[in-house]
Symmetry: C2
């Protein structure tokens, strides 16, 4: 029954409830993880009635909300079914160990830049489509454009998640930033916050603005995420994300801050760069 199924990952984060009883005792209760048999039963239910209980459907994924009655209790499950196009997409969902490395400017030149040059430009085609007006962005500005993040459903306005791209493909990442880019960074910050406020009502204090380093795409972009976005904590850890305000301040202090800095990065053991960085220790 479960022979063709490979467990990619058990999500270990807690799912529970915290209660205060009689103003004396705090109870934190965390439920067990889902077993493969329970998961398989749900997959069989979806196969029987593939169009039932769909919440959202896109080209690449279908999201279900299934309510199952067991004994006297109802349990609801959120199920996201995706059709991966290549091995990289499957790898992204695999459980892997992450490790921290300090990327010096020398290691960036020696390993990271050559690695970037091996990435096929076709993976950036969707960014070019926005840049060339083939796909309509949310907002167009002087030197930048804002697109919705794929994780945002564009319906829950309180959970806004957008990505603001520089139009200039020569800015690969924060490593490329100099004082000459400060006007662009400040325009992005000001205009995107104004736009988010106009469509969602969210205030500046409710938006986390940050860059990933290493980024997923080596074409400079800034994340604008609602502080309420469910997976925010996983996306904005130190060793992975840096606040835009910190970046602006550091470049103002020193034009060459990000070309001279040793930057802590986290690399998964399945990543092509892992062995290179691990050898240097």
């Amino acid at each position: 029954m479960t022979e063709n199924i490979i467990v990619l990952n058990d999500l270990k984060d807690s799912k529970g409830i915290t209660l205060l009883k009689d103003e004396k005792s705090i109870f934190c209760i965390v439920k067990s993880q889902i077993g493969i048999d329970e998961a398989n039963e749900l997959i069989q239910l979806i196969k029987k009635e593939p169009n039932k209980d769909i919440i959202t459907q896109t080209i690449s994924s279908i999201k279900y909300n299934k309510l199952i009655k067991l004994n006297n209790q109802q349990t609801s499950y959120e199920i996201n079914v995706m059709k991966p196009q290549n091995i990289q997409e499957i790898n992204k969902y695999k459980k892997q160990q992450y490790e921290l490395f300090l990327e010096t400017p020398e290691l960036y030149q020696q390993y990271t830049l050559p690695y970037i040059s091996t990435i096929p430009s076709s993976t950036l085609q969707w960014i070019n489509d926005y840049s060339n007006d083939i796909t309509k962005p949310l907002l167009k500005g002087d030197g930048f454009f804002l697109v919705p993040d794929v994780k945002w459903n564009m319906k829950d306005m309180n959970l806004f998640y957008g990505i603001c791209f520089s139009k200039d493909p020569s800015i690969l990442s924060i490593r490329s930033l100099r004082q000459c880019h400060l006007p662009l960074l400040k325009r992005m910050r000001f205009e995107v916050l104004k736009y988010i406020n106009s469509i969602t009502g969210l205030k500046e204090e409710e938006i986390v603005i940050y860059c990933h380093y290493h980024p997923s795409f080596w074409h400079f972009h800034v994340h604008f995420t609602s502080i309420n976005f469910p997976t925010l904590a996983r996306n904005n850890s130190i060793g992975k994300a840096i606040l835009l305000d910190t970046i602006i301040q550091n470049i103002e202090l020193d034009d060459l801050y990000y070309s001279k800095a040793s930057i802590m990065i986290s690399i998964g053991t399945a990543h092509q760069l892992y062995d290179k960085f691990n050898q240097t220790k």
Copy 2:
């Protein structure tokens, strides 16, 4: 039945499983949150047999692991029961909205420093107990000592979580750090990593070393957390945590970096400083 129970927080993080079926479809399945009735049943079970299924017990908390059979399925629950001593401890567990503010050096002088002076010194007594050898620390060094974090059970070595305190109480936080503190910071980093490796086998790349700003205790300390620690993502977000390597680099660049910096902080709406910072917008 549930009338004396107040729900402090629903933990919304996902608890689920990711599966690959027939190498074609990825299924992510997330279970529903626990309802208050289900939680109440578990509390009644504990009250009936208070000493059964205890995993760990400390002065302030008891941790249970309960396995319940419903229909043909067994569900296991982790239950942590705590006896809070004051309203601050209860507030920490309350669901609240967090917002981001840029704390300028002026705002630090005007609001944060006066707030720090109102905190009763009794809340730091446990740190003094370690410092005065009343409680034995894990490691004593030149100008610092290492203690286990309360969240670590001291059994799962792969999940190491320790806090390294400066012996000097005049260093309130990263805001107080100057170049004269660099030798202390580097000793902490080097000696604590060596100690962790000797008792756990964990490598430098597997330990995240960071400071919180604002910290929970205004007596300078550094977190050393295994990259595998379950709640790490919640503890090391940007706007809350800063890597020790970044701190060292910034002080090396500019002696006054952290006294001149505007630092992004996240404040909960229930915090005493929230209204002060919110007024300044």
